[in-house]
Symmetry: C2
DNA sequence: TGATAATCAATTGGTCTTTGTGATTTTTCC
DNA sequence: GGAAAAATCACAAAGACCAATTGATTATCA
């Protein structure tokens, strides 16, 4: 790695602790101290405030952190491009994704990607949209995958795949044979939904509104914090639930769950890639290209 | 300077000669050889082809050159930002400008800029638009100043100042008292013009065309290769000439030359800044801001 | 055309500088 | 007072640079 001194600075700036940074870098603390001092001498400006036992970045340190992030991005892209030239495809890709995508969409995709390009190290952080945008800004991740399409001008959004929220029930459910129900029947059905604030619930509410149905019109039996809990629950009850089609692909195939069409109700959304625009980010682009051609069936 | 090894590579890649690069870097040739070898070992790929006595870049070398350019741009912006924080304003700015701008517009501007920010080293290369765009692409300059507004999507164009092409004559010229002439009188006047292909001539031809006058309608006594020669010539003759107002500011003030208005003919053009878009280029922006507020009178 | 000079990168061996370590000190926080 | 964290110091290992030289190619000129 080039520019080890900058790497040292970067690590210290991220952890705000000389000793921890030293451990992370497999060098001793005095070495870290020295590197920072040398940077400060070189730039003739303090990079950290030493307030007793704590340190924090000075404005100059903030600027340097900003730039080192960009410089490392360039190094990473460079190494990826060169490895591609050698038909090796090596590099590091840090992805941040929201729950549904991370849990149900990415695993097979990442497995396939890793099988084909085993020199590319992928890391996956699961977070909500807001945190993902924050992480992109801090340069903690290279690529985000989100459910909504929040439009922050700071980022570049690219369509990934279409998601569909479907009404599912246990395979032997009374209504399962009917295959479809009308909108009018919906309020009579005992439902499970995700908790308020979750992206999935918001899409459902929005779609119902266009069909002139309020959430309070529905017979909501329970609100659960995760799609997995909802699935487990409905497997053992006559409740139904609105969930992303991707979260039940396996259960549908195994005939454990079944989709019941609600005539006149179509709940769709698109998953989006999100990146900081400007930077080359070759590897992100490479992965996006791969993902776009992946067949999820 | 960080990343001296990359600096060495960059220098060699630009000069395509180890020995010359060594001289430029004030180190010996073996040191250069070693740096390059170490880079090649690190990336596990050859960066230069050694064909007998000559070297040239391999595809990998080309990629690395591309990235090192970008990395150095970041370093430069970084140093500028940090120096600004210290109220020092230091950095390097490489400008490329076309003749008229470089000769008549920039000198006072650069003088004033240097007086205020004497830690910023400015270099000025004089070239035509095409060469300036090439230099920007090669990362040989940071900022271009051109007369036309050629629109290459690779670059970002920003308006600088408005230029006016005026008809001038020696101060005691017969027509000088009239202060203005009509378009009809123009063909009778002995004129000096710039050579074919020059930006100035093109603007004139274009403006005349809208007034329904062909170049061949005019009484063209001579075509000269530089504005300076034209000025010298008309000072000693009864010829007149179309020149940029900026090229005769001093002579107008000294009452050596005078402007004769051609009623119904207005020849204007805009000078433009041109930059590679994408990169931060803080110092370029800083200079542009300064230039925009400069008073040329 | 063939001998000779000039050019250029690689190699070698040795010196000096830089970087990192281990032990210790200083400061601050609880 | 003790734990935690950064600074300081002396020393060892590693790395960078140089001078001199080699080997190979290209240019020059009789």
């Amino acid at each position: 790695m080039f520019d080890f001194r900058l790497k040292v600075f970067y690590t210290v700036a991220k952890r705000l602790n000389f000793t921890k940074a030293a451990e992370e870098l497999y060098i001793t603390q005095p070495a870290v101290s020295k590197h920072i001092q040398e940077l400060e001498t070189y730039f003739k400006i303090k990079l950290f405030n030493r307030n007793g036992n704590k340190i924090n970045l000075t404005p100059a340190g903030e600027i340097l952190l900003q730039y080192t992030g960009q410089i490392f991005n360039l190094y990473n892209s460079l190494e990826f491009e060169l490895s591609t030239l050698k038909h090796e495809h090596s590099g590091n890709l840090r992805i941040g994704a929201s729950t549904t995508i991370a849990q149900y969409v990415l695993p097979p995709l990442l497995a396939s990607f890793h099988k084909k390009f085993d020199n590319i190290k992928v890391s996956l952080a699961i977070n909500n949209t807001e945190q993902i945008e924050q992480a992109l800004q801090n340069n903690d991740i290279d690529l985000g995958l989100i459910e909504g399409q929040s439009k922050n001008a700071l980022f570049k959004y690219t369509e990934f795949i279409k998601d569909e929220i479907v009404l599912v029930a246990v395979a032997n459910h009374a209504l399962a044979k009917k295959q479809s129900i009308s909108l009018k029947e919906l309020p009579e059905i005992p439902l499970l939904l995700r908790e308020p604030g979750s992206g999935t619930l918001e899409v459902i509410v929005h779609a119902l509104k266009t069909a002139d149905i309020k959430l309070s019109d529905l017979r909501m039996d329970m609100q659960l914090g995760s799609t997995e809990s909802i699935k487990s629950y409905i497997m053992n009850s006559n409740c139904m639930a609105f969930v992303s089609i991707y979260s039940v692909l396996k259960e549908l195939k195994n005939n454990e769950l079944t989709v019941v069409d609600v005539r006149g109700l179509n709940i769709e959304r698109k998953f989006h890639f999100i990146q900081p625009h400007g930077d080359a980010e070759t590897l992100s682009g490479f992965f996006m290209e791969f993902a776009r051609h992946y067949n999820f069936r």
